[in-house]
C-alpha cells in the first residue's frame, strides 16, 4: 500500500442553518472552488472523485449526478458513499483506498448536506422506516405514553439511553456534559467555518436549556447545518510535486456492529454505551499506524459528537484515557485548546452538523492542526499525530483515521 497524504481542503464560505440563495449543486461548487483555489490545482489534476451525503435529508437520490458539472467530474470515475453520520469519513477512506492501491494518484472527496431543504427527523427516520411501520401495526403508542417500546423520539431517543448509561458506567455527571458543550461552543467561536459559536458559553448557561430526555438537554444537541467540504488526497510522488505541506494518512479503520436501539424487530442485546466498534476500530487503527501508546503518541483528537457527552465517552472508548477518566481530564482543563489532551478545537459536531460533511470535517480539522494551519483555533501544543473519529447509523458504525506530519516508513 502506498503512502497517501492530504494536500488540500475546501469549505463552503459559511456553515449556517439555511443557505437561502443557492441550490444544492451551486452550494457544493463553492467548496470545490475553495479546494482548487487553496491548492492551485485544476480539474485536469484530479484522477477520481468520491462523493458523500445522506439522501433522505434532501430527498435527492443522486446529487453527484445532478451536480456533475458543478463538481467538475465530467469524464472522471465517481463513487458515491452514504453511511449515515460516518459518510464523510467513509468517503475519505474510499478516496484513501483509491490512492493507496495505486488505482489513482490524486482524488477529490466531496461531501455536503443541505438540511434546510428537508426535515432532519424525517431524514433520520428514513433509516428504519419499515421497522417503525411494523411497530405501528403492532400497536405502539407514538406519543410514548404507555406500552412496550414507547418511542423516545427521533435521534435523541436512542442517544438518551447511551448518555444515561455512559454516566452510570463512568461516574461522570450531567454537569460534565454541560461543560463539554460549553467548551466546544467556545472553541467554535474561533473557527470561521463553525455554525454555533459562543465565546461566552458556560456550563451554567447550557444547564439552563431545558431537558429533552435526561441527561440530554437542548444545549447538548448539534444543530442542523447547510454546508459542503472537499478534501484532496495524493500519492507520495504527486504530493511532492503538488504541495508544500502534507498531512499524511498513517492509518484508517472502521467497524460496524448491531443496532443498539430497543427496536422491536431486531431486539436489543447490546448496551448503547458499550460501543465495541469504537474499541475495535481504534485498536486496528493504532496497530496499522504503529502506535503503541495512544495516550502519549496522539497529540490531538477530533471526536464526532452529535451530542456533547460523546466527546467524553469516545475519548475513553478509543483509549485516549481510562474509563471514568475523561470527565476528570475535563475538570483539570486538559481537554481545552491549551491543555495536554486537546479535543475538538473546531467546535466538534455539537457546533456544526451538516451530516454528509461532519465526519470528513473531523479529518480536515485534524489535518489543519497537523499542518499548523488552524489559525485562531490552532491548539497550543505541537501536533505531530492526530486522530479523527466518526460514528453513524443507529449508533453502530465507527470510522477512525490517524494523520501524521511524516509519511509511514515502508
Amino acid at each position: 500500500m502506498r503512502n497517501v497524504g492530504i494536500i488540500g481542503i475546501g469549505y463552503t464560505p459559511v456553515f449556517v442553518s439555511k443557505r437561502k440563495e443557492v441550490n444544492i449543486p451551486e452550494m457544493i461548487s463553492e467548496a470545490v472552488d475553495a479546494g482548487f483555489q487553496n491548492t492551485g490545482l485544476t480539474p485536469a489534476d484530479i484522477d477520481a472523485m468520491v462523493f458523500g451525503n445522506m439522501h433522505t435529508f434532501e430527498g435527492v437520490n443522486l446529487p453527484h449526478l445532478w451536480a456533475a458539472e458543478h463538481i467538475r467530474s465530467l469524464g472522471k470515475p465517481v463513487m458515491r458513499i452514504a453511511t449515515g453520520g460516518t459518510t464523510g469519513m467513509a468517503a475519505f477512506h474510499a478516496g484513501y483506498y483509491h490512492v493507496a492501491s495505486g488505482m489513482a494518484d490524486v482524488v477529490m472527496v466531496v461531501t455536503y448536506e443541505k438540511h434546510s431543504e428537508g426535515d432532519a427527523q424525517v431524514g433520520l427516520m428514513g433509516i428504519i422506516t419499515p421497522e417503525v411501520m411494523t411497530m405501528l401495526a403492532a400497536g405502539i403508542d407514538v406519543t410514548g405514553g404507555s406500552g412496550m417500546g414507547a418511542i423516545g423520539g427521533g435521534s435523541a431517543g436512542g442517544i438518551s439511553f447511551q448518555a444515561s448509561s455512559y454516566l452510570y458506567h463512568s461516574g461522570a455527571g450531567i454537569e460534565h456534559i454541560d461543560e463539554q458543550a460549553a467548551l466546544e461552543r467556545r472553541n467554535a467561536a474561533k473557527n470561521p467555518y463553525a455554525h454555533l459559536k459562543d465565546p461566552e458559553a458556560t456550563a451554567e448557561k447550557i444547564a439552563q436549556t431545558p431537558l429533552v430526555s435526561w441527561p440530554i438537554r437542548f444545549g447538548h444537541i448539534c444543530p442542523t447545518t447547510d454546508g459542503a467540504t472537499v478534501c484532496i488526497l495524493a500519492s507520495e510522488e504527486k504530493a511532492a510535486k503538488l504541495a508544500d505541506k502534507v498531512a499524511w494518512v498513517l492509518s484508517v479503520a472502521n467497524c460496524a456492529s448491531d443496532a443498539t436501539t430497543a427496536n422491536l424487530i431486531e431486539s436489543q442485546i447490546t448496551d448503547p454505551a458499550e460501543h465495541l466498534p469504537a474499541i475495535i476500530a481504534s485498536k486496528q487503527a493504532y496497530e496499522r499506524a504503529g502506535i503503541v501508546d495512544p495516550k502519549k503518541e496522539i497529540d490531538y483528537v477530533e471526536i464526532y459528537n452529535g451530542f456533547a457527552h460523546q466527546t467524553l465517552m469516545y475519548l475513553e472508548k478509543i483509549g485516549m484515557c481510562e474509563v471514568g477518566e475523561a470527565h476528570k481530564l475535563q475538570e483539570a482543563g486538559e481537554l481545552e485548546m491549551n491543555g495536554r489532551c486537546p479535543v475538538n478545537a473546531s467546535g466538534g459536531v455539537v457546533s456544526t452538523n451538516s451530516i454528509g460533511t461532519s465526519a470528513l470535517n473531523r479529518v480536515t480539522e485534524a489535518a489543519l492542526q497537523v499542518l499548523g494551519q488552524a489559525g485562531e483555533h490552532q491548539v497550543e501544543k505541537d501536533v505531530h499525530t492526530a486522530l479523527a473519529h466518526g460514528w453513524g447509523g443507529l449508533m453502530q458504525y465507527v470510522t477512525i483515521t490517524i494523520l501524521g506530519d511524516k509519511p509511514k516508513k515502508a
Binding site: V22, A150, G154, S267
Partner: protein, 147 residues
Amino acid sequence: MEETKIVNGAWELSTFHFPIEGRGLKTMLKNMKDKKLVGFKCPQCGMVYMPGPFYCRKCFIRIDDEAEVSDHGEIMTFTIGYADVRGNPLDEPRIAPVVKLDGCDSWIMGVLEGVKPEDVHVGMRVKVKWAEERTGSLQDMQYFLPE
C-alpha cells in the same frame, strides 16, 4: 445574494410496501393476551431473545424453540423524557427504562410508573403491569412498576 424560490417535492413513501419478518413479534403479542412473555431460544448458545428473530444473532443458526420469560426484571439503563418527539415540553416527566427481564437476554423499553424521577436507578427491580383488557398489542404490557 437574494433568497431564491422554493419548489416543493415529496418522496411518496406511502406507495412503498415493506414485507417485514414478524414471527417473533407476533408470537410475543399473541402470548401477551394471556399475560405471558414468550421469546425464542438458541439451542446452541442458550441466548434467549424477545421478540425473537428467526436466527440466533451470535451463532447465525435458525432458531425455532420458544422460551417463556418472566415479567419481572431489572433496569439496565433509563432516560427521563421532558419533551416529546418534536421537542414540545411534556406536562409530567416520563421515565423510560430499558429492562432485562429475568430469563431473557435481550432488553425491552417501556414506561416506568410509581417512581419519582430522582429515585430511578440502574439495577432497580421492576415488574410488568398488565393492561386490564389485552388485545395482542404492544400496549397490553402497559407499564412497569417497582417490584
